[in-house]
């Protein structure tokens, strides 16, 4: 079984809940592909000795991030089923500013990546590919023109690069994860070798193609962080895919709600997202996993039945 973790900033806590369900169901993950926050989650998971240990490590990482960013000033997680009202909007902007001052502070993401990922264990762990978009610009500082050029390139079909983390030196390993999460104008682009990379979510927010191309997986679980996505499994006909799409919105509606959703790392929200991920995974994966188990049992019982009937037949002379 392969696992694809889509990008989505703070909504990545949802994926921790999904991974927790997979660990409890005993699913055997053989390969991982991720973009942005999915790349970070995937890297932590790939360096764990087992899926249950990976779920625990991820929970610890996200709780630490929540503690660092401080509690949400209003009661409970923000409403996700509608657009924000005026006062709610102001409060959210203030929260985002406060969150952003932590998460987007220089060195925070680097420190988070370096303390969360164990390079040595990752090298011998589950194979993982992270998606990053190779920028055409060579300048260190991104510019609107440069971003426009990259957008055009993306629209014209420039593909994202799938970077195999396990084979990289330590520094490049960290850079690759940071590159996958390098949201234009929010986080700086990253250099791997002589190339410069931006957030893979530009063109490939759910890099199942990496597993189709490089991994030996029969089935792939794709964990999206958005509803209503125009993502079609037919683009990878060689894979048998099951998608986990959130049954409830993970962020408030509208563009601003979407942006806040990316940057809201308040502990209450992270816990709520994780719980939703756990519940959605059980609802969506539970029945097919049970059906697969039943089908296997059915085939085995059919063989037993034929063998038993064969025992009844008189021996052929």
């Amino acid at each position: 079984m392969g696992l694809v973790l889509a990008g989505g900033g703070a909504k990545g806590a949802y994926q921790v809940g999904v991974i927790e369900y997979l660990a409890s169901a005993g699913v055997d993950i053989r390969a991982i592909a991720g973009t942005s926050i999915g790349a970070l989650n995937g890297a932590v998971l790939a360096s764990a000795a087992s899926l249950p240990e990976g779920a625990e490590l991820l929970t610890a990482v996200w709780e630490r991030v929540g503690d660092l960013t401080g509690p949400n000033p209003v009661d409970g997680p923000p409403a996700f089923d509608r657009e924000l009202t005026g006062s709610e909007f102001d409060e959210r902007v203030e929260q985002v500013r406060r969150f952003g001052s932590h998460v987007l502070a220089p060195g925070f993401m680097e420190e988070l990546v370096q303390t969360s990922i164990n390079p040595n264990r990752l090298r011998s762990g589950i194979p993982i590919w992270v998606s990053a978009f190779p920028s055409a610009l060579l300048d260190a500082a991104p510019t609107p023109v440069g971003l426009f050029i990259d957008v055009i390139r993306a629209k014209l079909g420039e593909p994202a690069r799938w970077i195999h983390l396990n084979s990289l030196p330590t520094d490049e390993m960290y850079e690759a994860v940071l590159a996958s999460a390098a949201l234009p104008f929010v986080l700086p682009p990253r250099h791997i070798g002589s190339e410069r990379f931006l957030d893979g979510g530009f063109v490939d927010n759910a890099p199942a193609g990496a597993l189709a191309a490089y991994a030996d997986c029969d089935h792939v679980i794709v964990v999206h962080l958005q509803q209503g996505l125009l993502w079609d499994t037919e683009r990878h006909p060689e894979l048998s895919v099951i998608e986990i799409r959130p049954t409830q919105p993970l962020a408030s509606r509208g563009m601003l709600g979407h942006m806040i959703g990316l940057l809201d790392f308040s502990p209450d929200r992270l816990a709520a997202l994780k719980q939703q991920g756990l519940e959605d995974a059980a609802k969506i994966l539970g029945p097919p996993l049970a059906m697969i188990d039943s089908a296997t049992q059915l085939h085995n019982t059919r063989l037993d039945m034929i063998n038993a009937v064969e025992d009844l037949d008189p021996p052929s002379t």
């Binding site: 209503g228 125009l230 079609d232 048998s240 089908a295 059919r302 034929i306 009937v309 064969e310």
Partner: protein, 336 residues
């Protein structure tokens, strides 16, 4: 026949995990897209219509529903084939059960027949055993009787030949030899056989043998009186001791319970012998006549005149009867 089942198993479309995941995923994605479109704001819907995303979502939803239907058809086809396989196997099992049932009924019938035959055989064996027991008993009895008869014959010949050869009862008078020989034969195997078989013919043969012996003609050539024969015979014994010995030989003086019941002639002999040994003042002048008179008083009429053949016959018969009575008394005592 089971090849038919295996061939059907091969024909069942493989419902691999891919079809099952397709069934689940297509429905889940269609549900997500439909939910998204349902909960979209007006503004969002307008923007998506303008950008073409609304149409794209509609198409994607439809495609997923179509693929869901296709996966469902594959699954139903496999399930139907699987049911066909199961039905065929159940039919096979039912046929086996029916065959087993028939075999059980046949075995039960066979068992009942065998039980009945075994019972008959048991009864037959019991009858045969009973017959064998009876036959063996009869054979054993025949063997015993034959042995007894042969022994009786041999002992008769032995005893009579020995007397004829003058090797028994020598020096005793002929009359007393006759009594003792008759007693020997009657109390031995001859008497036993005669009592068991009812065949008293030995008495006649004994009489003949005694009569054929030259000593008989010599001792009793013509008719004589009983007292004279007995008294002459008593006088021939030289001493009182010999007379007493003779008297004891015919059980006189023994405990009546042990003595053979006397018969008249034997009683005359016994009393004569006893009286002849009395001291002189008490001794009768003619003890035999006194004995005859006493015997007549006790046993009734007794012929005083007789001849050799009558004497021998009566002595032989008396001894035979006395021996028979003694045996009967012993059997009665043993029965107590």
């Amino acid at each position: 026949m089971t090849d038919e089942l295996r061939a059907l198993l091969r024909d069942i479309p493989v419902v691999d995990d891919r079809i099952l995941l397709e069934l689940a995923n297509t429905l889940s994605v269609a549900e997500d897209l439909t939910r998204y479109r349902r909960e979209q704001t007006v503004f969002g819907r307008i923007i998506d219509s303008l950008t073409g995303k609304e149409r794209a979502r509609e198409l994607l939803t439809t495609q997923h529903l179509v693929r869901n239907g296709q996966a469902l058809v594959s699954w139903v086809a496999a399930t139907s084939k699987g049911s066909e396989l199961t039905n065929l196997a159940v039919a096979r099992v039912a046929r086996h059960l029916k065959a087993t049932q028939h075999r059980l009924v046949a075995a039960e019938e066979l068992g009942l027949r065998t039980t009945s035959e075994l019972e008959e055989l048991g009864q037959l064996v019991t009858e045969i055993r009973r017959e064998c027991d009876t036959r063996l008993t009869e054979l054993e009895q025949w063997r015993i009787n034959t042995t007894l008869r042969v022994t009786a014959g041999e002992m008769f010949d032995f005893a009579v030949d020995r007397w004829s050869a003058e090797r028994s009862y020598t020096h005793l008078p002929w009359a007393f030899q006759t009594v003792l020989l008759a007693r020997e034969i009657a109390t031995g195997p001859c008497g036993d056989w005669a009592q068991i078989s009812g065949d008293d013919s030995y008495q006649g043969r004994l009489v003949n043998r005694i009569m054929m012996d030259p000593r008989t003609k010599e001792a009793a050539p013509r008719s004589f009186t009983l007292p004279s024969l007995v008294e002459a015979s008593t006088d021939m014994l030289p001493s009182d001791d010999e007379r007493l010995m003779m008297a004891e030989l015919i059980d006189t003086g023994l405990d009546p319970a042990l003595a053979m019941p006397n018969q008249p002639l034997t009683a005359v002999v016994a009393i004569t012998l006893e009286m002849s040994t009395l001291p002189a003042p008490a001794r009768p002048q003619h003890p035999a006549e006194t004995a005859l008179a006493l015997t007549r008083r006790r046993h009734g009429s007794v012929d005083g005149t007789t001849d050799a053949i009558s004497f021998v016959q009566r002595i032989v018969a008396e001894q035979a009867n006395a021996a028979r009575s003694t045996r009967d008394a012993i059997r009665i005592d043993d029965g107590k």
